[in-house]
């Protein structure tokens, strides 16, 4: 019975991760606007082309009648005429008024199937005078749309298709936190009882946590390259993560350096408690008090507040459970190895 239960949760974690990979990589991305051409407009009749990424928002050769493009200058709306629509682009013509409340224009595309697409600061009118848009140029927002996109991931500028990395990067750090937490509790128990069992647990937890920490760093670096343009940026969250991994590497070095010394259990337990406290400070406290590019930190809300929609949740939560269970499985394997080694050495 115990063996069956053991198999169920272990293979359950693999099945969950298989589900995560299948859905995570085969769910299409919602469409979103990425650019406007030209971006500089003159005070005359202009034609702009708004380009989109993600899944198509229109069929090839679709009628233009169902689509609306509205430009926004400050809090006033500017009317345009849609001239053509393609699966990933829309063309609109309009007269640029002499007066605008703001020289920067935001673009809204209202589509029958994909809802409203938005591009902030889509284009600029440098020569426009400050003033209200004349009445004849103004637009009113269309009626509420009821998009039927189906199961798809939310579109985020810059992040785009790489949003799927959320299913790897974040759960891997969660798994590391989880197993390092086990190590922390084991080290406290080791200090209290001085039993070798707790030392074995702490060692297995740190070793497993480091694997997931390194995976978290790798997936984070890949994501940074795509969204921020660099493999590494000097950011408190990133540097904190690196220092944490180095600190935990120090734990293993300390153990290796002490060899068979009788004090290895107690000393490494003290070090592990210190390392976990540093992990909490470096990854959860300090980055929240400083400016950071990383989501969830100062001035930059995390995915959860506005981006983690239900389609993403349906894959993200299983990913957290799946990676967590896989991490725990690895931890139990390492712990059993430690116990076996100890049993053979003391026999």
């Amino acid at each position: 019975m115990k063996g069956t239960l053991n198999s169920i949760w272990k293979w359950g974690s693999i099945l969950l991760l298989a589900y995560v990979f299948l859905w995570g990589f085969s769910t299409p991305l919602q469409p979103g606007l990425v650019s406007c051409s030209p971006s500089q407009l003159d005070l005359q009749e202009e034609t702009i082309t708004l380009s989109a990424a993600g899944q198509p928002f229109a069929l090839e050769g679709a009628e233009t009648s169902g689509f609306t493009v509205i430009l926004r200058s400050a809090d006033q709306l500017l009317r345009t005429d849609v001239t053509s629509v393609s699966p990933h682009g829309i063309e609109a013509r309009f007269d640029v008024p002499d007066n605008l409340p703001s020289r920067a224009l935001d673009a809204f595309v209202f589509t029958p199937k994909a809802g409203t697409l938005f591009l902030g600061n889509a284009c600029f009118v440098e020569d426009a005078a400050k003033g209200d848009i004349p009445e004849e140029y103004r637009a009113t927002a269309p009626d509420d749309l009821h998009p039927q996109l189906g199961f798809s991931f939310p579109f985020q500028p810059n992040i785009m298709e790489s949003i799927r990395n959320l299913l790897l990067h974040v759960p891997m750090w969660f798994a590391m936190f989880f197993v390092m937490g086990i190590g922390f509790v084991a080290s406290l128990a080791q200090l209290r009882t001085d039993r070798v069992l707790w030392d074995q647990r702490a060692e297995a937890a740190v070793r497993t946590g480091l694997v997931f920490g390194l995976l978290g760093l790798t997936t984070g670096s890949l994501w940074a390259r795509w969204t921020w343009g660099a493999w590494w940026v000097s950011d408190p969250q990133l540097n904190g993560a690196l220092v944490t991994v180095l600190l935990y590497s120090g734990y293993l070095i300390l153990r290796a350096a002490m060899g068979d010394d009788d004090r290895v259990g107690r000393l490494s337990a003290v070090y592990n408690v210190f390392a976990f406290v540093m992990l909490v400070i470096l990854l959860m406290v300090l980055p929240r008090y400083t400016e950071s590019l990383h989501p969830g930190k100062d001035g930059n809300p995390g995915f959860n507040s506005y981006d983690l929609d239900n389609s993403l949740r349906a894959v993200f939560y299983p990913a957290v459970i799946g990676w967590g269970a896989l991490c725990y499985w690895m931890y139990t394997l390492r712990l059993r190895m430690n116990r076996l080694a100890h049993a053979l050495l003391t026999q």
Binding site: K10, L17, F21, F25, A53, P87, L149, M330, L333, Q347
Partner: protein
């Protein structure tokens, strides 16, 4: 359904699905996961056997 048809009918360059990259990425990820699962399962069984041996030799 209509949206899915639109996705399948528009094989655009740079689009994750139209270019077929999604299937390759999914396949590679599943193969790696399967390999890891098998390796861990075998290790699990080996450890169980060793534990049994140690237990019986200690009796």
């Amino acid at each position: 359904m209509e949206m899915m048809n639109m996705i399948l009918l528009n094989s655009l360059e740079g689009f994750f699905f139209g270019s077929g990259k999604a299937h390759v990425v999914t396949g590679v990820a599943l193969i790696i996961l399967g390999g890891l699962a098998m390796a861990m399962w075998r290790m699990d069984r080996k450890l169980s056997r060793l534990e049994e041996e140690v237990r019986s030799s200690g009796k």
